[in-house]
């Protein structure tokens, strides 16, 4: 069954926390991965790989650059399920 946007956000926050140590409560829809959360490109790749595994979706490499905010990623994953 497809997860809701809230559930995807919670799952993504756990992945971000595991990779970077950032508190899950800081991972909010309007936050920018680079500007607000200070996530570098390698961590971003790791987060994408883990999100693909966790949510059973494929996030194409050319799409990763478009996922600027947490909300971009959550919406993409929610739609791709």
């Amino acid at each position: 069954m497809a997860l809701s946007q809230t559930e995807v956000l919670a799952g993504l926050a756990e992945i971000v926390n595991e990779e970077t140590g950032i508190d899950t409560s800081s991972v909010q829809m309007d936050k920018s991965f680079v500007d607000d959360l200070d996530i570098d490109s390698i961590s971003m790749l790791t987060i994408v790989m883990n999100a693909e595994g966790k949510f059973g979706v494929t996030i194409p490499e050319e799409k990763v650059a478009d996922l600027k905010t947490v909300g971009d990623a959550v919406n993409f994953i929610t739609d791709a399920q």
């Binding site: 570098d40 490109s41 390698i42 790749l45 790791t46 790989m49 490499e61 990763v64």
Partner: protein, 334 residues
């Protein structure tokens, strides 16, 4: 008149690695030394790669010099005479001659002439390819001892302004002597290629383009995102399969020695493999850098010489890189 029955090689049951040898570039190159042309910093390079410094060879130290040094150490440690070496396999992508092979010259220089000798081009997977072939040559009875060398002088093929891979790269050679054994010492190898990503890591141009004035000196370049994803996601599967075909579990290992590509790849691989506490993860990259085909034997030798792991333990070794090529096997530490 009846046809005579052919003689064939008689097989030896098992093989093992007898000894390793290592030679690193004579220069210590810090991040500050190379950060300028890529508009970077020591902090950025450390955070992205784990590298604090890398070993590179002076202009007058050749790939062959390092290969000979590493080979002579391995031969001495193995306690064999070089004339007993039945084959020399040299894995390298930086031998500066299209032909003849680096291996033929190496065989002569170490006293193994007239052993059969040939180069392997499997980039960062090359040493593990060589161990797979050495295992097969020894167990088939084709050679009593095989010298496997992974060696690179990558600094001859870098662009100081390249931000994709050059700043990772280093020089060195690692050597192993493989020979017959009473007990199993090298597991089946899980190996292969994925040529659909042929251009993910490679050279900026071909020699023909250089000749025709269409390109400058070819240097190494990579698509970091593609390589990172492949190196973690696909190599986790390869590592798990290697353990399975070896008949061992991760908790049975003393060490995991991956190709020293980038500390972030090494750490993520270890995480995805759920490596149990107590299994040593080789991180030779921190002070050696990425030496392509040399990185696995150099990292394993460092663990043995520092005493972090002991002879007789099991190690999963896995090489992966340009091709894309990969190879993994479990070995008994020499």
């Amino acid at each position: 008149m009846s046809q005579p029955t052919l003689n064939q090689y008689s097989a030896v049951k098992f093989s093992r690695i007898y000894a390793l040898g290592a030679a690193r570039g004579d220069l210590v190159v810090t991040n500050d030394d190379i950060a300028g042309p890529i508009d970077s910093s020591d902090e950025w390079i450390q955070r992205r790669t784990g590298i604090i410094s890398r070993r590179r060879a002076s202009k007058d130290v050749s790939l062959m010099d390092m290969a000979v040094e590493a080979s002579n150490i391995a031969i001495k440690r193995a306690g064999i005479d070089p004339s007993e070496i039945g084959a020399v396999i040299f894995s390298t992508i930086t031998h500066p001659h299209q032909t003849p092979s680096a291996a033929a010259l190496l065989a002569d220089k170490i006293g193994a002439n007239p052993a059969p000798a040939y180069d392997v081009s499997a980039a960062c997977a090359g040493y593990c390819y060589g161990i797979a072939q050495a295992d097969a040559l020894v167990r088939s009875g084709m050679a009593k001892y095989v010298l496997v060398v992974g060696g690179e002088k990558l600094s001859d093929f870098i662009d100081p302004t390249d931000r994709t891979i050059s700043f990772l790269l280093a020089d060195g050679a690692g050597a192993a002597i493989v020979g017959p054994s009473d007990t199993p010492g090298i597991s089946p190898t899980v190996w292969g290629t994925d040529g659909s990503h042929w251009s993910a890591v490679g050279m900026t141009a071909s020699l023909l383009e250089l000749r025709d004035g269409e390109a400058g000196w070819p240097t190494l370049v990579q698509d970091g995102a593609t390589v990172f994803k492949w190196a973690v996601w696909e190599m986790v599967k390869v590592a798990k399969e290697a353990l399975e075909v070896a008949g061992v579990k991760a908790e049975d290992l003393a060490a995991i020695v991956t190709h020293q590509a980038n500390i972030r790849i090494i750490d993520e691989l270890a995480k995805q493999l759920a490596v149990p506490e107590g299994v040593v993860i080789a991180r030779d990259i921190i002070y050696t850098g990425n030496t392509s085909a040399a990185s696995v034997p150099l990292a394993m030798d460092a663990l043995l010489t520092s005493g972090e792991v002991k002879s007789g333990g099991l190690a999963l070794q896995i090489g992966f890189g340009a091709g894309l090529a990969f190879a993994a096997q479990v070995v008994v530490l020499p």
